[in-house]
Amino acid sequence: MSKQAQHWEKTRGLLFVTLAIWFVFSIGIFLFGAEMEASSIRPFGYPLSYYMTCQGSLGIFVILIFWFAGRQEKIDEEFGFSEREDD
């Protein structure tokens, strides 16, 4: 397999992991809004459903993007596809 094909395979793998995490926190947990509300897990005292919509999921997205960017940079370096600084 060519270097480029391997690079793309890894990139795609990272995409699926990223989208899976994204799916859980943007769609998955909100299928259980009522259950979250009744849950005894109450971050900072807020109902879990309320907390996730106003801070929880949002914060996870921020971290997820930086994590994704870091991983993708590693993949690019591994196969020598990083940009030169003066590109």
């Binding site: 909100f30 809004g33 807020y46 309320y50 997205f61 960017a69 990083s82």
Partner: protein, 606 residues
Amino acid sequence: MFKGNFINNLPKIYGTYTGGFIVFIILMAIGEQAGMSAKVIGICFVAFTVLIYALIGYLSRTIQVDAYYLAGRQVPTVFNGMATAADWMSGASFVAMAGGIYFKGYGYMALLVGWTGGYVLVASLLAPYLRKFGCYTVPDFIGTRYGGNLARLSAVIVLTVASFTYVTAQINATGTIASVALDIPFNIAVYVGLASILMCSMLGGMRAVTWTQVAQYIVLIIAYLIPVFWISNKMGAGVFPHLMLADEVARIAELEAQFGLGSIKNSAADLKQVPKGLSGITKAHAEVNTTPWKFISLAVCMMAGTASLPHVMMRYFTTPSVKAARRSVGWSLFFIFLLYSSAPMLATLSKLSLMDPNLATGIIGKSISEVQAIDWYQNWNQANLMFVSDFNGNGTLELNEFFMGGKAVVLATPEIAGLPYVISGLVAAGGMAAAMSTADGLVLAISNALSHDIYYKMINPKAETAKRLLIARILLVLIGFAGATIAALEIQGILGSVIWAFDFAMSGLFFPLVLGVWWKRANAQGAVAGMLGGLAAGTAYLIAVRSGYPGFLDITQLTFGIVGSVVSLVLMIVVSLATKAPDAATQKMVDEVRVPSGKAILGRQH
């Protein structure tokens, strides 16, 4: 100031600017103590900030194509993040979102999840690849990737429909704020708003818009956070409201029960007296008050719409590298997070200020005549944004007898909570910054698509630089005027039109963009079918629902993008597979887009 190694001086320049703005706020506060009137303070805030933006716009003027379209591709990661955050957070986020949450509670908080979650899609599916491509505009990518003027034209059509819907809402927001702060009629104020928007973008294109947007972000975030922290501390609710308002949220639920929320309904005859556009609190504040599908469908539409809106995507064309584009998405979302995580807190504090009889600011349970005598009530009532009426004739104000416009929640809260007027002036300046920065990005996205993709690429490919830029500027002014004229008609509220814009963008552009990078087999015929078919299907569904069709699967006029994008996806796959695969050159181009290194597909000047 903007000469020499301007880029290296950025932190210093914007640091000084922020300091200067804080000094200005303090001066205004001193002025208020010394007896400056509320009206003068409001005018000073709006006029001073708008003049600064215009000055930045003037200093960033340019006659170079790549500076006009791409800000010279040298915007550093963090600053591009700030500019994107301002570009992104519109009058809807700043002025209307907390209001939506105030009235509809959990159901509208899907917007928070949708408008942030979409950035994960932007970072992982699109932004780095489009940056590598090196395009000037989004239709530039579609036109080159799929080939042919028809694909380019289709992309321009979708872009124009979505962005134009969006921009009318932003000009409406600038008009609302200018009319309240400067005390002029709304239909004149929209043109004042327009003039300020054009001053920032006309001379310098993307370069001017970038540096004004950074300045606007600084103003809007200060203006949003100060009242939230101040009110929370004044009320004794907590030093750091985001983590400390659980008791207040619970208290609102208690008061809702006490005031009979949900059990006392207004009759249709009573509601007729309420001015158009105002609403009362009818939904519980924090309870899960909607079905999972309704919540998720709204969030999904906003996420896919985020990843398809050209004015956001084109901000990532301005970074120095692919790596910087990726990181810049993270910074954008971080800066957006600062405001979005505060919106529900502002809604909570605002609601409690009005509802709690134990607070000096509470008005529910007071006598109607007492409320009608309050200064801020009279002002906002005059602006047609607040209304009380004694429906049950008992002389006291009940929860179901108080009505407010969605856009008043953010703008009026500082006054309601008893903060000095200087904060209200600051909030007006912040709202103006939010609406202007987004309007700038949108007007530029439309006029760039028309000038670059239609005029230069399709009509007159031999046009000289000077002529191209002249056409771009003329179009900018024309589109601005068209937007202002429609905004003055007030067809749909701010939040409603913005949500529509996301649905339009998602219907026509989401899959053609994503599959352009991720599916090599996608071809021009498929993309054209996907763009036009998706847009047509979404629009048809919207019109049908607006004219009384009950719809299916609980898809409403706020989520019609689901219909559009599914049609778009199916058409794109079916038509692509039924026609010839893209040629070898196109396939090779897609391969090159997928790796960060190497030359951009389209050169700096094209």
